[in-house]
Symmetry: C2
Subunit: 394 residues, 2 copies
């Protein structure tokens, strides 16, 4: 293992009926609450009304900011920061999935400073404080509810940037699996892909002595493979929603990668794609990940690929080369995601050769190489992107 | 899963050379530091000098309280509380293993109040604040460095009590595997047993839908079985000390039992024993656990026992009854601990029939039944204690 610091102060409040906890948690931070949410589905499924009811019980002064988009935009974040300043907001209550919570982190960091939030996101300026954030999770996917990370897209410059600060951990996050019953089929598929992809990004590393972290990664992947298809058949199963909701948190709260850092090249490429084309993050990831795997697997690193194939996909290695076992595992992952209904080619998002150069440029805009398990160049990005235009290997 | 709240704010600082972090962390909490430690081994192995050097670098005003015993005593805690009050201590720096850190939690909770600490420990009075605690772990075992729990023994009343409060989480814990190189052989054995026993106490529950938590438990147990004997041969192996140190934390930081509660009857019985006989905690646990397992396993609960046997001890269930598989797993656990050199009978601590009644009484002093996986009565305690007087089943 490598040296590490783990410090995750988020209070996770998990289970049926836990919306109740809002009345206890919110008053700790203030009375003026800015409710942040996305497209308004929470008004259709009753979650909005239930939250307003809780806020009224404790006499919160409630402001609302709605319309936070799937890849949250800098312009949206700036508008919400203006609201915070104008109304002297004391707590942000983010209701949604990764996008709303990611936006909340940027809004929180920008609310108490004259520094422009893009300068903070691009690390030109430092965060020194942030508004407290509470979250109510309605889409289990990103795991943003138990970490400090955020991804924001600047549409003026076509940049999608990940950033984090010690001040942007939510103070509390309410996770009631019931609140995800009405997540649409496609979003549910993306949630399953996203959780698995977060685990897989971590799983590919060269650090020694991580058997317990490996075991946790493999247990999450196996459970997602077991529960995922059943959930799509039974979208109102408490246990299956519960599994995805817990695993989304565990995949991104820092616990499974204690002592090592994962690869994350695939996320880098996906961020470049969705800075140019506004596609669903997990859709891009489902397409890219198997292609990244086939691109980087070689005789010096088959160990991790083989371990994944054997332990997660139950592939019998008997009589096969390590490379064969590895490729079987990759094919099974792709087949599994395809079977859920996830996309397999960028063409499904009407992306063709014409923008690949622009996307590849973006993957190396920060530095000429990226990815930790295997260092990639612009040339690698182009290859992976080209492979992602066709349905390969299935 | 059951509803749960997870909120663990400890900053874990893990790895080689991390003692360095003291100079950054301590000044956040104050200048007057009370250094707490046990029998003085840290003066022999150089850890004391290195810590003092760090404290001098930041001009801390250092006070010392030494002689905290293996089962920390209420009388010792009270003496240290007096020092805190007299010297207006601002931070406790606990250097040691579970005993010193457990004592620190009681000292911290008693330092800023006129309430007697025993009333807090016995839950007659509530904690409302506590001194901040930092820890430097020199014995990987209890995992006290990343939780709020503490066990204190009152020798006047012969009571050993576990308690916890939201205020007694350490602010930071420094875990450098190198600092455990000089842990004596017997203590290393006890550390391995203790970590495994904490996982096992959690593992036995009836809550459904915990596959990922199970996977984490099993990964820790397998790694302890793999690493434990090698560590005893190579006490200065960084990787093996690292494994035990991380697993000690994971076994007790609340992450592996998200959504369910473990049994903990064996700890209840061990606490009763060591309230009467001052024996090493993990020694008692090594003797009791297999006897608890054999006592409670029955046709309605073999599932967990069988899962343990198959997944952790690689027992082939083919052609065997569930009970046979379960008993084989129990025998292998006992054999493994015995092979490390852990005790198998209470007689090794010169305990005989004469005090069993007194011990059994203590197991039911709070309520007539205890243990969550299987409710036990005083009669059960007596049976398990009697079995623990002989070497059974090996």
């Amino acid at each position: 293992m490598d040296n590490f610091t783990f410090h995750n102060p988020v209070k996770l409040i998990f289970g049926r009926g836990k919306l109740e906890a809002l009345t206890e948690e919110i008053p700790k931070y203030g009375n003026k609450v800015l409710l942040l949410y996305g497209g308004g589905s929470i008004k259709c499924n009753g979650i909005y009304d239930r939250i307003i009811e809780k806020l009224n019980e404790i006499n919160s002064e409630v402001f609302e900011f709605t319309g936070i988009e799937a890849n949250p935009k800098l312009s949206t974040v700036r508008q919400a920061i203006d609201v915070c300043k104008r109304e002297q907001i004391e707590l942000l209550l983010a209701v949604g999935g990764g996008s709303v919570i990611d936006a909340a982190k940027a809004i929180a960091a920008g609310a108490n400073t004259e520094t422009d939030i893009w300068d903070i996101i691009t690390k030109k300026e430092k965060v020194t404080e942030a508004l407290p954030i509470g979250t109510v999770v309605t889409i289990a996917s990103a795991g943003s509810e138990m970490n400090a990370s955020s991804v924001i897209t600047n549409w003026e410059t076509k940049e999608k940037k990940g950033w984090a600060s010690p001040y942007t951990y939510p103070k509390f996050s309410v996770l009631d699996p019931v609140l995800t019953y009405s997540v649409p089929h496609e979003q549910t598929v993306f949630g399953i892909v996203d959780v698995m992809a977060h685990v897989l990004e971590n799983y590919f590393h060269h650090t020694s002595n991580t058997p317990v972290q490996d075991g946790l990664c493999e247990a999450i992947l196996r459970e997602m493979i077991e529960a995922g298809p059943r959930l799509l058949e039974n979208p109102k199963s408490y246990e299956l929603r519960e599994s995805v909701m817990l695993n989304a948190v565990l995949a991104r709260n820092g616990m499974l990668n204690m002592g090592y850092k994962g690869d994350w090249a695939t996320h880098e490429i996906e961020h470049a794609i969705s800075a140019v084309h506004d596609i669903p993050h997990a859709g891009g990831i489902a397409i890219l990940f198997p292609n990244w795997m086939r691109h980087v697997v070689d005789k010096n690193n088959t160990g991790r690929f083989k371990q994944l194939a054997v332990r997660v996909f139950d592939i019998d290695p008997e009589g096969k080369s390590d490379r064969e076992v590895s490729l079987e595992g990759i094919a099974q992952l792709q087949e599994f995601w395809k079977g859920l209904g996830a996309p397999v080619s960028l063409k499904e998002y009407e992306i063709d050769e014409s923008t690949l150069d622009e996307i590849a440029d973006k993957t190396v805009s920060k530095s000429p190489e990226f990815g930790r398990f295997k260092r990639l160049t612009r040339h690698d990005s182009m290859n992976i992107l080209r492979e992602s235009l066709q349905e390969v290997g299935v």
